[in-house]
Symmetry: T
Subunit: 66 residues, 12 copies
Amino acid sequence: MTVAKVTEITAESTESFEDAIRQGVQRASETLHGIRGAWVKEQKVRVENGAITSYRVDLKVTFVLD
Amino acid sequence: MTVAKVTEITAESTESFEDAIRQGVQRASETLHGIRGAWVKEQKVRVENGAITSYRVDLKVTFVLD
Amino acid sequence: MTVAKVTEITAESTESFEDAIRQGVQRASETLHGIRGAWVKEQKVRVENGAITSYRVDLKVTFVLD
Amino acid sequence: MTVAKVTEITAESTESFEDAIRQGVQRASETLHGIRGAWVKEQKVRVENGAITSYRVDLKVTFVLD
Amino acid sequence: MTVAKVTEITAESTESFEDAIRQGVQRASETLHGIRGAWVKEQKVRVENGAITSYRVDLKVTFVLD
Amino acid sequence: MTVAKVTEITAESTESFEDAIRQGVQRASETLHGIRGAWVKEQKVRVENGAITSYRVDLKVTFVLD
Amino acid sequence: MTVAKVTEITAESTESFEDAIRQGVQRASETLHGIRGAWVKEQKVRVENGAITSYRVDLKVTFVLD
Amino acid sequence: MTVAKVTEITAESTESFEDAIRQGVQRASETLHGIRGAWVKEQKVRVENGAITSYRVDLKVTFVLD
Amino acid sequence: MTVAKVTEITAESTESFEDAIRQGVQRASETLHGIRGAWVKEQKVRVENGAITSYRVDLKVTFVLD
Amino acid sequence: MTVAKVTEITAESTESFEDAIRQGVQRASETLHGIRGAWVKEQKVRVENGAITSYRVDLKVTFVLD
Amino acid sequence: MTVAKVTEITAESTESFEDAIRQGVQRASETLHGIRGAWVKEQKVRVENGAITSYRVDLKVTFVLD
Amino acid sequence: MTVAKVTEITAESTESFEDAIRQGVQRASETLHGIRGAWVKEQKVRVENGAITSYRVDLKVTFVLD
């Protein structure tokens, strides 16, 4: 019988969406054990003077309860 | 690199929706640090004898991980 | 065994959304018994010359069948 | 034959959601003629130290083309 | 003033969806106090050689904060 | 020319979701003629001390107007 | 203060979607007073031997309560 | 590199939905250049005494920026 | 025991949406047996110089497996 | 590199939703290899004289391409 | 009191989704002042002979009204 | 008269989402002729020990029927 929890996090990067996902998953795994995967719920960018300054993702992270 | 978590709470008040939001955010901040904002997901009222007895909101609260 | 019905009503007020909800629930309870609650489905305002003239709510009202 | 346009605006107030809607509609009517109504798409609050600092609404504003 | 939290869990059973819900709620209540209810968000089955090997549910569990 | 109406009901049972659907459809047919079918809109459970106390379904019931 | 109710009907015609809407609204107005409008929720066709045999619409009909 | 804008319009006709779409697209093209297409977001009818008095469509119109 | 499959097709016509649906269903029935019905998922028009050049529908077609 | 296809099927049973899923998956696996799982998209019942005559599920079935 | 407008644009690139977003934001900022951010609504690719020929994004761009 | 079909595929890559899309489209074109485009429906990552092990996309692929 496996029970997993789903938590929602928001992560930001100046590089790319995929970098934001990497960092978000890594940061979350410092406090959450057994992370199995994540679903990309939203993708946003911040803009200044017509240029992208950061990439932001909202993730639903799934981790297994021991 | 900022990572924020999103958690869902339900709060109720006999006064108004905005009072329910105020109380919900205040109660949540007793256990959660770094709350930045909240999104109103649902608004419901309880009714008895044709009159509203309470206002209930479902909120998605965002808080920044240290 | 409890069975409840859900009906959809639209109510309007010149004061506020909460006043529109109050009036809508009260008016509905004149014809429907056992109203337990209502869910706010939509909120709209009518505008004339840049000012709000009325607040309109679409409600899903739940009432218990005797 | 009537043709209306729908535009999306975001308005913020320190008072309440309804005040944010009032101000948003009023500001929009300075540049847009024939505003007939608005639909509340989203409601968010900003929070600092557990207290609400501002109420933000996303509105879909409808205005009639001359 | 009641404030409740909503958390998302995934539970799996080889018997049925209802068994997966029972086990998920039971496992969650080992770590969460005051669980009041759960909403079935998704239902999936795993399949091998044309036969169902497990029933999986995604649940939104509501629990009251003390 | 066939015209059918759709009404929304909520039914609850201590046994299972399917029992709640059966009872809901049966109760509704006491007041509504010509029920053809129902669509399961939502499935929720009530929980006490980590155990399921009741199964609740929201149904959209379709019935043909004579 | 105006309160309106919204009810859902399904209507079918062998001619076209618009004919199905016309007939549905007309049939509904035999039992419901004060119908103001209807929103087309769904459009389906029945097919036999590669040809359309009927056009079916699901409508949300709004009528004002006296 | 092509960039297109999407704007939302509402158009009404006493004839049919397709006539409302035709008129809406034609009216919009008097002020917008490079219209490529439109997506039908909503279809509504106004009703008086059980008869349809007008057909209303909400359209998302796409036009290419020079 | 009946099992039906659902496939998604896109059909286009220079006449009307209903003509596009007719043609789409007819073309699909050349390769698919047992088509029972279709649900209109999306309606779009192509535009040139402010005039509609074609009507496009996205359909979900249901057909029974022998 | 794994590529999987998703197809939509509808299955019906006189027993229960889970029986309808079992039969649907089994029938589909007679023509589709490598079925890994299925997601329950919709659940409906047919009704006659207030009693349920059949349980119908719409499933999204995932199978791996060789 | 800040009021922001939201407009929808579609941008295309032969390189990647992120390049399409960059170009779309840059092109939009030539005509719109005060762009703060953008939300990625849709991501599509065009294909010829099994290869991707372009990456297309639909963006909701937010800009502050002076 | 053009009729196109839409099929859903899932593709996975250890590199990036765009690589997963490329491979998915390429693999699909080995069995499907006339692929015109694809819409990104979902983006997920698999995680082990806090690091992303694969990027998974759900695509809706459109191809023209001869």
